[in-house]
């Protein structure tokens, strides 16, 4: 039997593989429904190619997109899990193994010299977001994030007195500015409040929520639906070639913020919204969550 370190490493390789090859159920359903309901011929052609590509990836066990992203992990450690100090090393090893075995494209470069490390690791990479929970397991989500959509991220310190209106205007303007670049139909993650860094972090975290789940608070859920409807009025459409489906969902997360500020972070996600999650018990039992 493997030790817990090796189990975590092996499981991380597996969720990386699953993430880049199989799209989550909610995303596939939304793309299928977009194809059924798209009225623009150009848009339908793009969605057909996307759906065919998803099937080909699944059948051939091949990454659906060549941009297998930079590797981000979200790790939630249960309070009764015990020592977890080995997790960062295990995840780093997993990324190196997955790069060769899946394979993943080596994307990680030094930000200034642009030298490629060749194995998707480097300074602060893979990046691990930590959280704690009440359980006795560690839950790991792999989120390989492509650059096409990530490059369309944005942040603004809006005018607090303008509130919701400022938020709506900001999202619409960013969607129009981004056009075809984030590979629409996109998912829009919005982080509202907190501070500058928290808003962007929440925007990314919002993308982890399944897109058929609205925010539990009705006011936020209604805002998500209203902004999505408005985004899809732009007519940018699949791949920016025109159509009804510019985005599949708007997911918002928020934090209380200073009375004098309204920070908003936006994180765009391409249609290839890749994420996979596993839970590992102390005794080495592994459960694939999604």
């Amino acid at each position: 039997m493997l030790g817990i370190e090796k189990t975590v490493e092996k499981t991380a390789v597996e969720i990386l593989r699953r993430a880049v090859i199989y799209l989550p159920r909610d995303v596939k359903e939304a793309l299928n429904s977009a194809y059924e309901n798209e009225t623009s011929e150009a848009g339908r052609t793009q969605l057909r190619a996307i759906l065919d590509n998803i099937k080909l990836g699944e059948n051939g066990k091949t990454p659906i997109c060549q941009d297998t992203g930079i590797i981000l992990f979200f790790v939630t450690v249960g309070r009764d899990f015990g020592d977890f100090s080995f997790v960062p090393e295990a995840l780093r090893a997993a990324v190196k193994t997955a790069t060769v075995e899946v394979p993943l494209r080596p994307n990680a470069v030094h930000p200034l010299t642009r030298k490629n490390s060749g194995d998707n690791t480097g300074m602060n990479m893979p990046y691990i977001n930590w959280d704690i929970s009440d359980g006795d397991y560690v839950e790991i989500t792999a989120m390989p994030k492509g650059a096409g959509s990530e490059n369309m991220s944005s942040f603004a310190m809006l005018t607090p007195a303008e509130g919701e209106s400022a938020l709506k205007r900001f999202v619409i303007d960013q969607v129009i500015k981004a056009g075809a670049q984030p590979c629409p139909p996109t998912i829009i993650g919005a982080g509202v409040g907190g501070s500058a860094d928290i808003a962007l972090k929440l925007a990314k975290k919002a993308l982890l929520r399944p897109i058929d789940m609205r925010h539990p608070e009705p006011q936020i859920a209604d805002l998500e639906k209203a902004i999505l409807g408005a985004v899809n009025m732009t007519g940018i459409g699949p791949m920016g070639l025109g159509g009804k489906f510019t985005s599949l969902a708007v997911n918002i997360e928020y934090a209380h913020c200073h009375t004098a500020s309204l920070p908003v972070g936006l994180n765009m996600q391409c249609w290839a919204a890749r994420r996979a999650t596993a839970r590992i018990q102390r005794d080495g039992t592994v459960e694939m969550v999604s």
Binding site: A49, N53, G60, Q66, V175, M233
Partner: protein, 200 residues
């Protein structure tokens, strides 16, 4: 909307036929080049250093593939287009100096590229972003790889392709730019959209 099937090398008169919105398939040789390769190629043009690929009449693919080496032979696993806007700073000069006829990418390019396409005879085509497995199925063989020191995504991958497509012409050789039209129309609807959202 018409459909065109081209084989490399593509002539200027042929590439002037399609209009934006038309469908294009390409057979022959296609070479990947992203920002780093564009920059180096133009530096070499300036300094007179040799460039390992003859781009004249050829196809540039904005793509950084996943490739694996099996028994000394490279195989492309996944090869969809990358966002072309990153190459906007280089493409007009690239078209002028190195004479490729077809640029393949995603998300479109800007006014300088469109002007070079009109003047020198070239088109820009969108292949579905993210559809990397679909794209790799049209790749018959890897004929070579150059400038690998730039890293796997940024290297020049020389690919033999058969009916690569379907692609949509979004910049034709007549000065038209489909992405500009779609984005411009979204911009025109902005106030109507904000009004629907209850924003003054």
């Amino acid at each position: 909307m018409a459909t065109f099937k081209f084989r490399t090398p593509v002539s200027e008169s042929d590439v002037r036929k399609p209009n934006i919105g038309d469908t294009v398939y390409v057979s022959g040789v296609m070479t990947t080049a992203r920002d780093q390769a564009h920059r180096r190629a133009l530096e070499h043009v300036k300094t007179g250093k040799p460039i390992p690929v003859d781009f004249e009449g050829g196809v540039i693919f904005h793509c950084g593939p996943i490739a694996v080496k099996e028994k000394e032979q490279w195989r492309i696993v996944a090869a969809g287009p990358t966002t072309s806007t990153r190459m906007e700073a280089y493409e007009a000069e690239f078209i002028e100096k190195l004479k490729p006829r077809i640029i393949v990418g995603k998300a479109g390019m800007g006014a300088r590229t469109a002007e070079a396409a009109r003047r020198f005879g070239a088109i820009y085509c969108d292949f579905t972003g993210g559809a990397a497995v679909l794209a790799s199925q049209k790749i018959r063989a890897v004929k070579g790889v150059e400038w690998y020191d730039l890293g796997m995504p940024e290297a020049l991958w020389i690919l033999e392709v058969e009916e690569f497509g379907p692609m949509t012409v979004t910049i034709d050789a007549h000065g038209k730019n489909l992405h500009d039209i779609v984005q411009g129309s979204a911009q025109e609807k902005r106030s109507e959209i904000l009004k629907a959202l209850g924003v003054a």
